[in-house]
Amino acid sequence: MRCFIGIDLGSTTTKSVVIDEERNILGRGITNSRSNYDTAANIAKQEALVNARFHLFRGALKKSGALNGGLDEFVGQLERDFRLEQFTEQLADLEAVCGRNVDGGKFGDFAKPVVAALEETFRRLKLEAPELFAPGAKRKSDFFRDIAGSRYLAIGEEVAKAAELRYDFLLNIFDRSIIEVENREYGDSISKNLLAALDRTFRVLPEAAKRGEAIRAPIQGVLETALEESYVIGTGYGRARLPFSKEHVRSEILCHGLGAHVMYPHTATVLDIGGQDTKAIQVDRQGIVESFQMNDRCAAGCGRYLGYIADEMNMGLHELGPLAMKATKTVRINSTCTVFAGAELRDRLSLGEKREDIMAGLHRAIILRAMSILARSGGIRNEFTFTGGVAKNEAAVKALRDLIFENYGEMTINIDPDSIFTGALGGATFAWRAVVEEGKLAEARV
């Protein structure tokens, strides 16, 4: 089947969306951008295509009626099992690379104990892996680097202590190995991992296993359907690094405008707060950008600012919002400068302000800056759509709602839970237009 793909190479994460000929969203994929944009783009695309397969499995299974009532449970289990298969494969890869890197590590007499410690660490990692993907298990992140890294460090520390070995030996090996593994693509093993996952799922869900063939057939059917990459459009901060011709690259401002329009057709104003850009975009009824403003070279008040704050507070990025929601008052924060963020934070703490109140102030400060950029772009018009990573942050959303009401009155504010994919969706829609509306598009005339 024909697929139209958008890839949004952000400074922090790379997102991909796959749509079909009817412009239905088939799949979404996300990965960390690393320092390697080519790989990030490929992996995000692959993730989106895998996600598309699951979407199609669900559709095919539903149609076949093989899983009366048990569809959600089955597909959910299959997806977790597939993630586990993928994780296991990458973990084996990491173990092999770590093993090779012991040689170059100049550990001298310690080489043998280091190898033993690695073996023990990976043994435990593999042992606990299924738990990480059990139903309801909480993961801080879905990226291999984060999951494997945090567990490797925790287990490695215990193992090193027990073996009376220096912990930094293990750290050193991990640091030298993770990049290689992270930058490897596992596109070829997707089918294999899916079939292995299916076996796992049948073991967990014996009821489903009884209807094994009836379930396998539609899945096999989907697997045999080629997902043809009819057209790919790249966008985002790293778009110039994509191995695409110019015709396949669109500005992220246009993609965000169009993506927001596709999600909410009445969108007039779009605010996108990403890792290092804040963009205010005005679109017309067709999703065509009329004007835009963005932050200048300084990334003050963007997602990265929250990242620094999180580091400074020794917290996870996604924990900031919930902490700010506990505030009883909002501390006034003057600077949204990323460089001064830590200083301002410590300054307020030293004055005895509570962490949650400071957090509320920080979120408000970010949104104030966004409000200024919005005003410069022509203000907020109804409907208003908020996108980007920061739109996932409830405290930022609250501050935004308050400030919009104060300044512009009642407005329809749209926030899609998948808003981080807005740019990629715009890209996919551009890809669709390029093919399906070819001829209607006036590109050739320019």
């Binding site: 901060y237 065509i288 950008v289 835009f292 963005m294 200048d296 006036a442 005339r445």
Partner: protein, 439 residues
């Protein structure tokens, strides 16, 4: 008479016509720096004055060697020397928000007064401040005066707050010229003022102005044979600086005009650093000065997308000639007054907006781009309001980018490129939508 001999070009005119005008200009500029470097040895006095409202013909009447501090700063910017100068000035106590031309100039002084070409710049004998809307210029010369303890003379040019020049305003400027400026220049130089000499220079100015306007207007053609911003800053070089009124400037503009007219006949696009632009895709009007530290990179972001600037306000910063003003040898002092009063920096917002709207229409441009300069309040204040108004009046899309004159720290290539590409694609998309609506 202290004019410069017409420099001989070393290139063959037949093959590289375009290069000739540029080479000619480079030689003129280098010659001027050399004259400045040797002025005191050769017994000449040195004047310093600013580009907007510069009274070059008048200064030539007193045999001054002529230095223009903003030009020095921008030349240093283009040669990648300004960054260090600015940091030196900041270390010396100047704030980060101060005009970076000022800091580049002060930094240059701190570094031993070596000019852009490597030759030492002389201490000025007189600072002639023709005040045409930029408050910072006044403070700048105040700082220079403090440092060198040199003579200063100020010509106060009233702002065109109401959008027109009244007879009173003109008389006020002429009166200052007669009673204050000319006597001071006579005293400092030891040369008696001769109004016929001024008339003679002005006759040269008029010829050069006529040719310059023809060059700027050539951008109304499709394709435009020039870039009216990136190329434009070269074309305005001689007439906005130490050469207006000198015969070599007249000659430069004669040669330039002939070259450009030939390009029009041949239906050729503008010459960029990487050769001729063959496919004109976007026609823009630009407001605001360019960035000098990354001039080539900045220009490239336009020409590699097929964008040509057909008209710019910055190319009028040292004199607005394209709406008819010419220096008038029959009324020399009055026309100097008129010239200063009509400078772009001395125009009010409605006048600037009218000018931009007129350009958008007459040059059949796709839209307006504003390059807002971080450290230049004279230019930047109110630019967003201008943008909105122009959008409203013309219905054409506008975009806004930010950089600086000569502070390399304020140039973010990725950010500017992002905005420019978005803007070009936006124009393209709008055009496609308009095309679809027609069919």
């Amino acid at each position: 008479m202290a004019t410069i001999q017409m420099p001989q070009s070393q290139k063959k005119p037949a093959t590289v016509q375009k290069e000739d005008a540029m080479l000619l200009q480079k030689e003129m500029i280098n010659r001027n720096y050399h004259e400045l470097a040797t002025a005191h040895e050769t017994g000449r006095k040195v004047s310093a004055t600013f580009v907007p409202g510069n009274l070059n013909e008048l200064l030539m009447c007193f045999d001054f060697a002529r230095s223009l501090p903003e030009t020095n700063a921008l030349q240093n910017g283009m040669r990648k020397k300004s960054g260090k100068m600015i940091m030196d000035a900041e270390r010396d106590g100047h704030s980060e928000d101060v005009c970076t031309y000022v800091k580049a100039d002060l930094g240059m002084m701190l570094q031993g007064e070596v000019g852009p070409t490597g030759e030492k710049l002389p201490r000025p004998d007189v600072l002639l401040l023709s005040y045409t809307g930029c408050f910072t210029f006044m403070k700048w010369f105040e700082l220079v005066r403090q440092k060198y303890d040199c003579e200063t003379v100020m010509l106060h040019v009233p702002y065109q707050g109401d959008g027109h020049i009244s007879p009173n305003m003109r008389e006020y400027v002429v009166k200052q010229l007669k009673e204050k400026v000319i006597p001071t220049l006579e005293r400092v130089s030891g040369v008696k003022f001769d109004i016929d000499r001024l008339r003679q220079y002005m006759r040269e100015s008029t010829k050069a102005e006529e040719d310059l306007v023809a060059v700027l207007h050539s951008a109304k053609n499709r394709p435009s044979p020039i870039d009216g911003y990136f190329g434009g800053v070269y074309y305005i070089g001689p007439i906005f600086t130490a050469f207006r009124g000198a015969p070599e400037a007249t000659e430069y503009y004669r040669v330039l005009r002939a070259e450009i007219e030939e390009r029009v006949r041949a239906k050729k696009g503008p010459v960029t650093p990487e050769g001729e632009l063959e496919d004109e895709k976007y026609r823009l009007v630009v407001e605001g000065p360019p960035n000098w530290t990354h001039f080539r990179d900045f220009w490239k972001m336009f020409y590699e997308e097929g964008a040509v600037v057909v008209a710019s306000t910055y190319s009028k910063v040292g004199g607005v000639y394209d709406f008819g003003f010419r220096h008038d040898p029959d009324h020399p002092l009055e026309s100097l007054a008129e010239y200063c009063l009509g400078c772009y920096t001395n125009l009010n917002f409605p006048q600037r907006i009218d000018m931009i709207c007129r350009y958008l229409d007459e040059y059949q441009a796709d839209g307006l781009l504003i390059n807002s300069i971080k450290s230049c309040n004279s230019f930047s204040a109110g630019q967003l309001l201008m943008l909105r108004e122009v959008e409203k009046r013309t219905g054409k899309p506008a975009a806004f980018i930010e950089s600086d004159l000569v502070d390399p720290r304020y140039f973010s290539a990725a950010n500017i490129k992002n905005r420019l590409e978005s803007y070009f694609q936006m124009i393209k998309q709008k055009r496609a939508a308009a095309g679809a609506a027609v069919h």
